[in-house]
Amino acid sequence: MLYALKIATRYLTASKAQTALLVLGVAVGVFIFIFMSALIGGLAEFILSRTVGDISHITIEAEDPDPAILIAPEGQLLSVIEKGRARAAILSDAATFIPLIEAVPGVKAVSPQITGAGFMMRGSLVSQVTVKGVEPGRESAILNLDSYLTQGSARVGSGLVVLGERLADDLTLRLGQTVRLQSSAGVSTVLTLSGIYKTGNGMMDGSSIFVSLSTARTLFSLPQGVTRIEIKLTDLNAADDTALRIRALTGLDAVPWTDGAEQLMEALNAQAQTGYFLKSFALITIVIGVASALLLSTYRRRPEIGIMRAMGAGRGFVIFVFVTQGALVGLMGGLVGAGLGYLALLPFPSREAFRSGTLPMDITQGSYGLAITLTVIGAILASILPARAAARVDPVTAIGQ
C-alpha cells in the first residue's frame, strides 16, 4: 500500500510541529527505556564483577573419603579418620581431567590446586593461614593476583610464597625475607617472600598465601593429585549449564558459584524486575501518547476521511493510513530516542573502568534494537484504536452536507 504510505507521510509532515512534539515524546520514553537498560545491566555487571569476579565460577572439590570403620564389640560403630591422609585419594587423576575441562566451551581458565591450613611463624609471631598451592603460571587464573600486586612478582616458584599486605604487616615481613610455614599435616618448610598483594578483602589479605603446587604437595604429603580444581568462565551466567556439562563429562562434583549465592541472585533478580517495571511504564507512556495524538488527529480529519471514503477508499485503506502514521512515529521516536540514549551514555566510563561513586552505566547494554522494536510495535498497537475509529467515520455526517 504505497499510496496509503504516501498519505500517512503527508499527514505527518502537514503538521510538523505537532509531529515533532509527538516524536519527541516517544523519544523521551525510548530514552528512559535505554537509560534504564544500561543502568540495570551495568549495575548487575558491576555487582557481579565486584562479588564473583575474583572467585572460582565452578569448583570441583575433593570429597572427604569415607572414614575407616572399626567394628566395636557391643555392636557400636567406631570410626577413625587417618590424620594427614584424609584427602589423599582425591582427584588423583586430575591430570587427565584438566585437558577435558579446558576443552569445554566457555571455560576461560582452569586452576588445579592443593589447599589446606597451616601456621606461619617468624620469631615469636605466629599467624594462621590458608595455603593455596597453584601451578606456576596460573597464579592469576582465578583471582587476578597480578592486578593486586603491590610489591615483587606474583610468580610462585619453588620455595617462594606470595601473601597479602596485612599478613606481611602482622609478621613484619619484607620482600626477600624468609618465613617458616608448618602445614596441618605437620610438614614444615622455609619460604622466601617473593610478592605482596592487596585486594582490599581483609580475610584474603590477612590469611591467604600462595605457594607453588609442588611446595603444597610436600606440605600436605600428597604425592599425586590435587584437592581442588577452580574454573573460570568467559560468561559467569553460564556457570550452571557449564557445571552440568563438566559433571557429565568427568563424573566429578562440579559446583557452580550460584550454589550458595541465592541471596545475591535474588537481589540481582529484584533489581532486574524493577528495571522491567520502569521500562514497561516507559512503553505504556509511549502507547498512551501515540494513541491520544492519533485519536485527536482522527477527529480533526473526519471530513477528509469522509471525502476519501466517498471517493472509493475502503475501510482497510483508512486503517492502513492511520496505523502507518503510528508505525512511522514509533520508528522515528525510537531512532531519535536510541540516538539520544547512546549519546547520553557515551560519557560514562566503560564496563572495565567502573569507578565507585559514578553510575555503572553500561553503554553496551542499552538494548537499542529491543527499544526500537518494542516502540514500533507499541506505536502500531496504539494506532489501532484511532485507526478503527477513523475507519468507522460515516462519510455522510463527516462531510456534513
Binding site: 500500500m1 504505497l2 499510496y3 504516501k6 503527508r10 499527514y11 502537514a14 471530513p303 477528509e304 469522509g306 471525502i307 476519501m308 471514503r309 466517498a310 471517493m311 472509493g312 477508499a313 475502503g314 475501510r315 485503506f317 462519510p395 455522510v396 462531510i399 456534513g400 452536507q401
Partner: protein
C-alpha cells in the same frame, strides 16, 4: 436512451418513534444516461438525503435502487465502495478537498486509491482535467490555498477522474459568487455535452436550474415535478 438508474418507492426515515423524521416517502425516479438534471425543492425537502442514497453513501429505509443493472440496496459495503469508485463522482458544497494535498493529487485520488499508487497515466489525465477546468496554472498548488471557485473546479475535475457514468453534485455552487458559479456550471455543461456524463445537481438557484435540461422537484418526500 436507456435508463442509467432507477429508484422506486424509496423511503428514508431518520430516527424512530416520536423523533422519527420521514424525509422520503415512496419516491420514484429514473435518470437516463447523458442527462443533466437539476434537483429542486425547499430546504429540508430531502435533496441531500436523496443524493446521498443515490451515491450509495447511505442505505434507504426501504425501496429499490439499481444502477447499471446492479441492485445497490442488497450489495455489501466493500462492493458499494468499489462501485462508487468506478461509476459515481461527487461534488459537495463544503469540505471538498484534502487540504494537505495539491490540486493534482486531489484530482487523481479516485484512481490512485484504486490502483494503490499514483501512476504516470493518472497524472496525465489529472493534468488534462485541470487544464480543461481552466486551472493549468494551479496544478501543483496546495489545495488549501485555492479560492472557493477554484476548489469547486478541482472537485469537478476529481469527480470526473474515473470517467464515471454519474456525477452527483450537492449545491456545488452554493457558496460561490455568481461569476464563479456560472463558470463551474459551464464546465459541467461542457463535460455533459462532450462526454455524455450524467449529472444530477441539487440547487436552490433557479438560474442554475435553468441551465439544466431537466428539473426534478422534490416535496413531501416524493417527486412533485
Amino acid at each position: 436512451m436507456s435508463a442509467l438508474l432507477q429508484v422506486s418507492d424509496l423511503v428514508k426515515t431518520y430516527g424512530t418513534g416520536g423523533a422519527a423524521t420521514h424525509v422520503l416517502r415512496g419516491l420514484s425516479l429514473e435518470l437516463v444516461a447523458g442527462e443533466m438534471a437539476a434537483l429542486l425543492g425547499p430546504s429540508g425537502s430531502g435533496k441531500s438525503t436523496l443524493l446521498t442514497i443515490l451515491g450509495t453513501l447511505m442505505q434507504p429505509t426501504s425501496g429499490r435502487y439499481s444502477m447499471l443493472g446492479q441492485d445497490l440496496v442488497v450489495a455489501d459495503e466493500a462492493d458499494l465502495t468499489t462501485f462508487r469508485n468506478l461509476h459515481i463522482g461527487f461534488v459537495f458544497q463544503f469540505h471538498n478537498l484534502l487540504p494537505d494535498f495539491t490540486a493534482l493529487e486531489n484530482v487523481i485520488f479516485p484512481t490512485a486509491v484504486r490502483e494503490g499508487r499514483e501512476t504516470a497515466s493518472a497524472r496525465a489525465r489529472g493534468r488534462d482535467l485541470l487544464t480543461r477546468m481552466g486551472l493549468a496554472d494551479r496544478i501543483n498548488f496546495p489545495s488549501a490555498n485555492l479560492s472557493g471557485g477554484q476548489k469547486q473546479r478541482v472537485a469537478v475535475a476529481r469527480a470526473l477522474m474515473n470517467q464515471p457514468e454519474l456525477v452527483l453534485a450537492d449545491e456545488p455552487t452554493g457558496n460561490l459568487d455568481r461569476e464563479s458559479a456560472a463558470q463551474v456550471m459551464e464546465l459541467i455543461a461542457e463535460i455533459n455535452r462532450d462526454e455524455g456524463t450524467t449529472f444530477l445537481i441539487s440547487t436552490h438557484d433557479e438560474k442554475i436550474a435553468a441551465l439544466c435540461r431537466r428539473q426534478i422537484v422534490v416535496g413531501d418526500g416524493v417527486v412533485t415535478g
